[in-house]
């Protein structure tokens, strides 16, 4: 309930902002070296095929957490904390990966309101462009196995970060193994 009102509030806020600014397109500004933190989306006029900012804030709004019992919180933390790991330059699911995914499926079955973003990541040894594609295949492989285990595909989105978001930047075998992963983020519910 609180989530819904959050969404509603942010939608109204963005709507008002849109009316006030009336900025037709996003713009980029040159800057010397100063870089801002990820900024809230700027106003963008809806154009065909281009999702509006309301949609985006809707997603953001739903990630706010409602009061939950600690047991549920722990289960959620375990779900988001446990990654699925891959071999070098591979998106094949190992036996261990399948076991972790079976646990993810069990959690999703008992929490039917939850939607998840499956992130695909790579170690930095490959090249950047190829890793973006490889990360996508890792996320897809994990998503497809969850669907195979009976989870509705509508609950699972994927996003590849390639080599852009390592968990361990150490640059050794141990770190690389941790970075080649599918990571799970609860986006709704």
């Amino acid at each position: 309930m609180r989530n819904r009102s959050l969404v509603l509030c942010s939608m109204i806020a963005i709507g008002v902002a849109l009316m006030l600014t009336g900025c037709p397109k996003k713009t980029l500004q040159p800057a010397a070296t100063e870089v801002s933190q990820p900024r809230p989306p700027e106003a963008t006029a809806p154009t065909p095929g281009e999702p509006t900012m309301q949609m985006e804030s809707g997603v953001a709004g739903t990630s706010g957490t409602a009061p939950l019992s600690s047991a549920i919180e722990q289960a959620r933390a375990a779900f988001e904390g446990g990654d699925v790991y891959f071999e070098y330059d591979s998106f094949d699911l190992t036996a261990q990966a399948k076991q972790v995914l079976a646990e993810k499926a069990a959690f999703l079955n008992t929490h039917p309101g939850i939607k998840v973003s499956v992130e695909g990541h790579c170690d930095e040894r490959g090249t950047q462009e190829y890793n973006l594609a490889l990360g996508e295949r890792r996320a897809k492989a994990a998503q497809e196995y969850l669907v195979f285990l009976g989870i509705n595909a509508q609950r699972l989105s994927t996003v590849s970060y390639g080599e852009e978001r390592p968990v361990d930047p150490a640059g050794n075998e141990e770190a690389w193994a941790k970075n080649r992963r599918a990571h799970f983020v609860i986006t709704q519910g």
């Binding site: 801002s36 989306p41 989105s157």
Partner: protein, 424 residues
């Protein structure tokens, strides 16, 4: 002029065999051809200006791939020298110089005057004796004007220093678009578009840069207008929308998308219409780049097991494999001359090097590069040079023989260079 053209011809013909030797031991002196040696005594004028301009000019000579600047330590007359006296040419003959460049720098208000003189030692001919001016904040433009004029008048070459390099710069954990002149001067980091911007690609008119941002928490394809600074979403399908490449006409883009299940290459108009699928494979297909005649596309595919470079004929849809060496060849780019494809090649020592191959799959070779680990090649608009990103996070420029890779950035954090066309 004629002599020089012959030099180039010889260089191109000899290049493959020379390089085989160079991979073991780079010995420029032992070869039949060598870079032209330039002596650059210190400039005359106020010290805060002369040092900066000298440094830019020395780097620019090196970037052209044609010149080697002789280290000032050995000069008979290290300067400052505003002008070369006719009787002093032997000073430069002694150190083996082919050319000597002297300059006087002065300032009038916010304007910098760069009076430069370049003399061919063997003939005593004055190649340049011109005063170039620029604003104080854009001093490098005076040097660029000199270099462009000299390249055109003496060597009939295109104005290299009218081109820019777009790349990605990491600042405080965010990756943003960074645009600079091809020698690294005049750089601007462009804020906005979210905290993760990747895969910049210039339009053939140099007015737009296609890029990928995670603005909507997904790798989506946008086109950035360098004039209006507008950023328009072009492709935001589920999955990846990455590695854009403009076609030579500037009306269409090739892009990698995964909406049909796995990463495939698609062709679309700049308004997103007319979307056509170009590849059809179980494997990962990515990183398209057009041939200059627009008839074919090189791309990277794992259809042979490991990632390799392939050529797609757009008319027949016939696919030809170009690389067999090594186990990891990615990020191909077509030369604007159409005679070469460059790519990131994983060498036997575990480091990446810039690999080169002909579009028929012949003459595979590897550039020595920075000696670190080199990725993401981008051809200069005349196809004579390649920019790449080294493992120290800096952008380098090398000629196609790889005799000297010149860093054009310092401080690190740079990746994914994309070289603009010649800008007006």
């Amino acid at each position: 002029m004629k002599r020089y053209r012959m030099f180039i011809l010889v260089a191109v013909v000899l290049a493959p065999c020379m390089l085989r030797a160079q991979q073991v031991h780079i010995d420029v002196e032992a070869s039949e051809f060598r870079k032209m040696r330039v002596a650059m005594p210190a400039y005359a004028g106020p010290g805060d200006l002369t040092g900066q301009l000298w440094t830019v000019c020395a780097r620019d000579f090196a970037i052209t791939g044609l010149f080697e600047v002789i280290a000032p330590q050995g000069y008979v007359n290290p300067g400052p020298l505003g002008e070369i006296q006719p009787g002093s040419l032997k000073d430069w003959t002694l150190i083996g110089a082919d050319y000597v460049v002297a300059a006087t720098v002065s300032r009038q208000g916010q304007t910098v005057l760069f009076r430069v003189q370049m003399i061919e030692i063997s003939t005593g001919n004055v190649i340049e004796r011109t005063t170039y001016t620029s604003g104080l904040q854009t001093m490098e433009r005076a040097v660029h004007a000199f270099m462009n004029h000299m390249l055109k008048e003496k060597f009939a070459l295109a104005p290299l220093f009218s081109s820019k390099i777009a790349c990605i710069k990491k600042v405080k954990g965010a990756k943003q678009l960074h645009v600079m002149w091809c020698d690294g001067t005049g750089g601007t980091t462009i804020k906005g578009g979210g905290s993760l911007v990747l895969n910049p690609a210039w339009s053939p008119d140099g007015k737009r840069i296609a890029l990928v941002t995670y603005y909507r928490n997904n790798p989506d394809l946008y086109v950035f207008d360098t004039v209006s600074f507008r950023l328009n979403l072009l492709a935001g399908l589920k999955g990846i929308n990455i590695t854009p490449a403009f076609d030579p006409g500037g009306t269409r883009l090739a892009v990698t998308q995964s909406s049909d299940g796995n990463p495939e290459i698609y062709l679309m108009n700049l308004d997103g219409s007319g979307r056509t699928r170009l590849t059809n494979s179980w494997a990962t297909d990515t990183s398209p780049s057009f041939s200059p005649d627009g008839r074919s596309v090189v791309f990277c595919s794992s259809r042979a097991g490991n990632p390799h470079i392939f050529l797609l004929d757009l008319a027949t849809r016939k696919v030809t494999r170009l690389t067999y060496e090594g186990k990891y060849n990615t990020e191909p780019v077509f030369s604007p001359r159409g005679d070469l494809v460059a790519f990131s090649h994983l060498a036997g020592d575990g480091k990446y090097r810039i690999g080169l191959v002909r579009p028929d799959g012949s003459k595979f070779r590897v550039l020595p590069g920075s000696g670190l680990s080199d990725e993401a090649p981008a051809f200069s608009p005349d196809g004579r040079l390649i920019a790449f990103a080294a493992a120290n996070g800096n952008i380098y420029v090398t000629d196609l023989l790889g005799m000297a890779a010149v860093p054009v950035t310092t401080g690190g954090g740079f990746s994914e260079p994309a070289w603009s066309p010649f800008l007006k």
